[in-house]
């Protein structure tokens, strides 16, 4: 599978990332890093323990990473969750559905990336 096909599969913007990062090689290198990144686990743990500032930072990091790699779909759900968590001190009912969306997008993105390996 090519990087372009992979991007199409996971709902990401290949043209945009290529224009910024310039080579497939570099894009692949950093895609693999996304799969290894611990921010997602940190987000799950912080939400479980309802550590809101930590959860915000984790979601924020995921958002930043997606932005850099033009992972459009995952970026959108990370952004919604980040904004819901910004400045929050308490857990609320609005969070689980946003998290579920992010979880599903995250899993399909990581699965897509693994197929490149």
């Amino acid at each position: 599978m090519t990087v372009k096909e992979c991007y199409a599969l996971i709902g990401a913007d290949y043209d945009n990332v290529l224009s910024r990062l310039r080579t497939d090689e570099r894009i692949t290198k950093f895609l693999f890093k996304v799969a290894e990144d611990k921010s997602y686990e940190l987000l799950c743990d912080s939400l479980k323990t309802q550590n809101m500032p930590e959860a915000f930072r984790a979601a924020h990091t995921i958002k930043g990473v997606c932005m850099n790699l033009s992972l459009t779909k995952l970026y959108a759900s990370a952004e919604r969750l980040t904004e819901a968590l910004r400045g929050r001190t308490e857990y609320g009912d609005d969070i689980p559905p946003l998290f579920e969306q992010l979880k599903s997008d995250y899993e399909s993105t990581v699965n897509g990336i693994r197929m490149l390996q």
Binding site: N16, V17, S19, R20, L21, R22, R26, K29, F30, K33, V34, D37, S39, E54, R57, H60, T61, K63, G64, V65, M67, N68, L69, S70
Partner: protein
Amino acid sequence: MNNVKAKILIVDDSELNRALLSDMLSADFEILEAENGVEAMEILHEQELEISLMLLDIVMPVMDGFEVLSVMNQKEWIKSIPVIMISAETGGAYIDRAYDLGAIDYISRPFDERTVKHRVMSNFMLTIKQKEMSELLSSQIYEKEKDNSLMIEILSHIVEFRNGESGLHVLHVHAITKMLLERLVKKTDKYELSNKDIRLISNASALHDIGKISIPSEILNKPGRFTPEEYEIMKKHTVEGANMLSDIPFRKNESLIRIGYQICRWHHERYDGKGYPDGLKGDDIPIAAQVVAMADVYDALTSERVYKPPYTPDEAMRMILNGECGAFSPLLLECLNDISESLKTELNVISFGHATDNVIHDTVKQMLETDGGDASNRSIQLLERERMKYQYLLDISREIVFEYNSVPEFIKLSELGAESLGIPMKIIEPANNKVWTRMFAREDFEHFVAKIKETTPENPVLSEKYLLNINRDKKWCKVIAKAIWSDGEMPEFEGAVGKIVDINEEFAAMQSLEQKADCDSRTGLFNHNAAKRRISAILSENKGKNKRYALTVFDLDNFKEANDVYGHLFGDEVLEEIASRIKASTRSTDIAARMGGDEFILFMEYKETVEPQIKRIFKKLTEPFKEFDVGISMGVACVESYDGDYDTLFTMADTAMYTVKRNKKNSFSFYNDSMKSLLQAD
């Protein structure tokens, strides 16, 4: 750019972001990474001068980007290190705040390779240009200052040579004026003198005697005393000099002319109003003229003149302080007195080229400091080399060396130090760090920090002992540290460097030595001196209190026989046996000692009566040992609310023991007043 890559510091909590930026920039720069603000602070703390540029994220754990910018402002790092913010936050308020805190540019995510490279490179080039410009500027200032000083010097030397003097006078007055002014601004801010003013007055001081050019040389160089008429002519040099300056067309408002005028006209005024030409009094005389007047008098006194030999600096100082030469403000007299020692050395080293060059170097340095110039590349290299040496020495040292930084608070250990303590090399907020406080108890560490903050820049070294927990062993350690204070008028505590030395063995050895010195080696009981010291301490501590004590003195009746009949080895055995019987029948608070030979003492506190106890001990001691019948003569002195000393008590018990010896032996007796006669007879 030269072949050594410039360093860029990337501060971002996401490893992926750091890697991405590093990937884009590593071809042109050497990349350092930090994953939060505190780590960035540590790197800046160490390599401030080497970092050419910093990329800084905003949202980070531990210490965020805004906090990093605040500390950089506080430490003035922001002046020398350009900071580019990177963040997904594009809100205007975020960007404004970063700019307000001194960030020079802002790159928003997602990163575009061309944008990142371009922004970093152009900001980097901009700073390089700025550095080059400031170096260029400094050499231009240097040239300009050199020309200025040279002109002033030529002018004033013309006057001096005409005056038959060496020309050193101008240089001396310059140096003394500068030192006096520098001292003066430390004492008071009433004259509002900036560094620039000090420089200006010192330079203008060279002009003080230019008026002498209009004085006929027969008068100027007359070896003897002036006639009153000649003196009147001589006095005119003040007004003449001032007029020369004020007559220069179009330049009246130049500060050099203005200050030079004051100095020329009024450097012979006196604080008491009895000087010339205008009889100004007190602070009506401009401060520039007051200071130059003092410098002039001091140098005139300490130099040789046609009409007088030189005085020593101490004589000159005494004459000025006593008012024998001129009249000055008390504050200036204090300043002169304060700098008297440094004046001696300073004036000795002044020669022509040397002084001029030094002054100019100082000037350029000062200007650059106040105008925010950068340290030169050369000094950065030197610094880097010094750190390399320090790091190497640290690496090979077997000692536990540490660095303590106050804001942000962290401890940094040498590699081997960290290894031998079994903790990481870097500890952030040590007082709240469990790994650290497990080793260095929190209250001990806080004690250390409080103590080191109590030191002064003059006396910055501290040495304290603490019981540390090193790899699960409690060990006595000495912590020796030197506090680091900032320069300047109000030094601030910045941190400390020091080492931790294991003194456990030393400590244990000391304790056991102390114990050994107090003990009788044969029996393990105290020796007489040690017992006496302890008993005296108890007696004096409880003087006048309602307490009862008994001191028992005894010896063996037939010890000589034990030695003679059964041999010395057996004699030793008997002594050891007696000692172990004493130990067995006394309490730990009692004090038992062997005085020497076969004599022992026993000191104890008692409540109601001591007789049953004495009986029991006596019975125990006199049990037969092997085939030897132990006989004991024992005297006991009992006291209540005693306020005498040990020796008196001892003599009482000793007297009681002798009454036993004199009568029947192998018994005990209590001292009573009827024995007083014996006591006195002895």
